[in-house]
């Protein structure tokens, strides 16, 4: 302590150095808590499901298996929960927020440091997951094509997942409870999933169907006017896997890849009346839109949700008083 020198004020350290110290603080937590391993186990289990499908279904070689891989909507929520649930609320719960916020780091710095660490964990997770799914694709579905498009698929999944991360951070910063943050995010996911499947199954109103594209989730389901692709037959119905398209925020990655492959494709959205026996009423076209617009809209919608929820999280964190 001989360095104590009250006459000389400590010079203000650079913003970046302090930010980096927060990132270090966060990353050590992520690694030590064996988070990576937990997240990866979930990832590999989910990814493995598609590799056992050929055993049950009539599926031949599929050169697009790797680039059309996506962690999937449930995984987005699960990854977001595992990676972000403790990030802010855990700091309140453990009381470590007190020594942290009395260091010369601003709350914005802490917030951005946490966000950055979450981003790193998520990207590393998806890199490993997509590597696994690509190798699996080769083994199960034969030679894979257009692998240079894989980064688009990964970026898309990262964006899709970040909507849920932003929601969890906002819920955690407001409630200061990891459990509540998880319940809120998962509750919202379940409600949205149920709500949109009901609309998708029963509504023949094009506006209502289209409105689902503005909620986080799978959006509307339609068909692309393309002829390439792999056909699977389930109970005598043949589907072209490459042509089926979902227009919501969950499908950004897959749709980006398809847009790169078929830049001029259009998607048509149909109403299928499963109850009617009248063949003319059975399937009706609701609307058609270009794939390019679907991708642009879903990215804009995703970024809007991410921005709004991250802002709420940041604002709540910034304004919080530490009372405990």
């Amino acid at each position: 302590m001989s360095t104590a020198n009250p006459e000389s004020e400590r010079a203000s350290p650079s913003w970046f150095n302090r930010f980096w110290a927060v990132v270090r603080y966060e990353m050590l937590w992520n690694i030590r808590k064996k988070k990576f391993i937990g997240v990866l186990i979930i990832a590999f289990v989910l990814a493995s499901v598609q590799f056992v499908l050929p055993a049950f279904l009539d599926i031949g070689p599929n050169p697009y298996s790797a680039i059309t891989f996506s962690a999937g909507n449930l995984s987005f929520v699960l990854f977001a929960i595992v990676i972000a649930m403790n990030s802010i609320s855990g700091e309140y719960e453990s009381g470590t927020i007190v020594p942290l916020l009395t260091k010369p780091v601003s709350r914005t710095m802490v917030f951005l440091g946490k966000l950055f660490a979450i981003f790193v964990v998520l990207v590393v997770t998806y890199l490993l997951l997509f590597t696994y799914s690509t190798i699996g694709g080769f083994i199960v579905y034969g030679a894979q094509s257009d692998l240079h498009l894989l980064p688009l698929a990964i970026i898309g999944d990262v964006i899709s997942t970040f909507i849920w991360i932003a929601i969890i951070l906002a819920a955690g910063a407001i409630s200061r409870s990891s459990l509540l943050a998880v319940l809120m995010a998962f509750g919202l996911f379940v409600a949205l999933t149920f709500g949109t499947s009901i609309v998708a199954s029963f509504s023949d109103n094009p506006d209502l169907v289209n409105a689902m594209n503005y909620l986080p989730g799978s959006g509307a389901s339609g068909t692309l006017n393309i002829t390439t692709g792999q056909n699977i037959t389930i109970s005598n119905v043949t589907i072209n896997t490459l042509a089926s398209v979902s227009s919501g925020t969950d499908s950004i990655g897959v749709n980006l890849v398809k847009l790169a492959l078929f830049p001029d494709a259009n998607a048509s959205f149909y109403y299928r009346n499963v109850l009617s026996t009248d063949p003319t009423q059975n399937i009706r076209l609701l609307y058609t839109e270009p794939l390019g617009w679907i991708v642009a809209r879903s990215i804009l919608v995703a970024f809007a949700y991410i921005a709004v929820f991250l802002f709420i999280a940041w604002f709540a964190f910034k304004r919080s008083q530490i009372q405990e």
Binding site: M1, S2, T3, A4, N5, P6, E9, R10, A11, S12, P13, S14, N17, R18, W20, A21, V22, R24, Y25, L28, W29, R32, K33, S94, G95, T96, V98, P99, L101, T102, K103, P104, V105, S106, R107, M109, K318, Q321, I322, Q323
Partner: protein, 314 residues
């Protein structure tokens, strides 16, 4: 006047409860200032406002001449703070925690490699610095809490009950440490509810109760005020009636009682009269084996101070 900490009409309310009520605090630079009060007096609340964790409901606080705001990162560069019962990330090792906090202070690699082992040694954690904090005992967490408060060689160190949870040796060590850092030019503001602790280290004292400062002065002046009647327990071999009568004749002796060899004397003065009492007993033919002066506890003093305050108001 050069003040390290200054508050003006500082008030903090939690709903209808006023935890801190128009507090005017002045802590001079280079002093060891004790912040004394019973549980719930508002000590921690005041301190949390000073370090920018809480926003005051009314009034202002200044530390090192700068008004305190919540989330003013640069203001904290020259402040060291040890929270009450601090809790640190369990997954970090003691030395790692100090290293990361050091980076937040902008300390260079060299500064950190000099300062951290030194602090670990000073707070008595040598040999345990590479253990996870999750495996530390309560007292060890308290010690790492003291180390992190001194990490940046701050101008002001604010310690919220630093000796809670420490063993007797640890308590003495903390007192010595506080004196030591004060010698190096730091201002120390330390809260406590232990009168003897404050008496042994502080140069200045503020006593707070129910959010109101009752007194704030140098230790000498405050102790003078607080000195109330005391009990003197003397163990006397050959305790005769003469001895008891001799003691009773002293003007400042209020009452006496005898149990076995123990002579319990109730004093009407706050002065230390042990020499006179001892002389009196010896002259009356008694042989003193031990003598024990019991001053009033802080609790008693508070009750007295508070009732004084109420009477003054009435």
């Amino acid at each position: 006047m050069d003040l390290a900490i200054e508050t003006q009409d500082l008030t903090k309310r939690y709903g209808t409860l006023t935890a801190v009520n128009k507090l005017n605090l002045q802590v001079k630079r280079n002093t060891i200032h004790g912040f004394l009060g019973p549980n719930g007096a508002g000590k921690s609340t005041t301190i949390k406002i000073l370090v920018g964790l809480l926003k005051p409901s009314e009034g202002t606080a200044r530390v090192l001449g700068k008004e305190v705001h919540v989330d003013d990162a640069d203001a904290r560069l020259n402040i060291g703070y040890m929270p009450e019962l601090p809790r640190f990330p369990k997954h970090l090792k003691g030395a790692e925690l100090l290293d990361i906090y050091g980076r937040m202070y902008g300390m260079t690699q060299q500064e950190r490699s000099e300062q951290i082992p030194k602090l670990i040694d000073i707070v008595g954690l040598k040999g345990r610095e590479n253990d996870f904090i999750g495996k530390y005992s309560k007292g060890m967490q308290q010690r790492i809490g003291i180390a992190q408060a001194l990490l940046n060689s701050p101008e002001v160190v604010i310690l919220d009950e630093p000796s809670i949870g420490l063993d007797p040796v640890g308590m003495v060590e903390v007192r010595e440490l506080v004196k030591e850092i004060s010698k190096e030019g730091m201002t120390v503001f330390v809260s406590s509810h232990l009168l003897f602790e404050v008496e042994q280290v502080c140069t200045h004292v503020t006593i707070i109760n129910k959010g109101v400062a009752l007194v704030s002065d140098t230790l000498a002046n405050v102790s003078g005020m607080l000195k109330g009647p005391a009990m003197l327990n003397v163990e006397v071999a050959e305790l005769s009636d003469e001895v008891v009568q001799a003691i009773k004749s002293l003007p400042y002796v209020k009452e006496t009682s005898v149990s076995g060899n123990m002579l319990n004397i109730s004093l009407a003065t706050g002065d230390d009269v042990r020499p006179q009492v001892s002389q009196q007993i010896t002259q009356a033919g008694g042989v003193i084996i031990s003598m024990n002066l019991k001053r009033q506890s802080l609790e008693d003093v508070f009750i007295q101070l508070i009732s004084n305050q109420k009477e003054a108001k009435a």
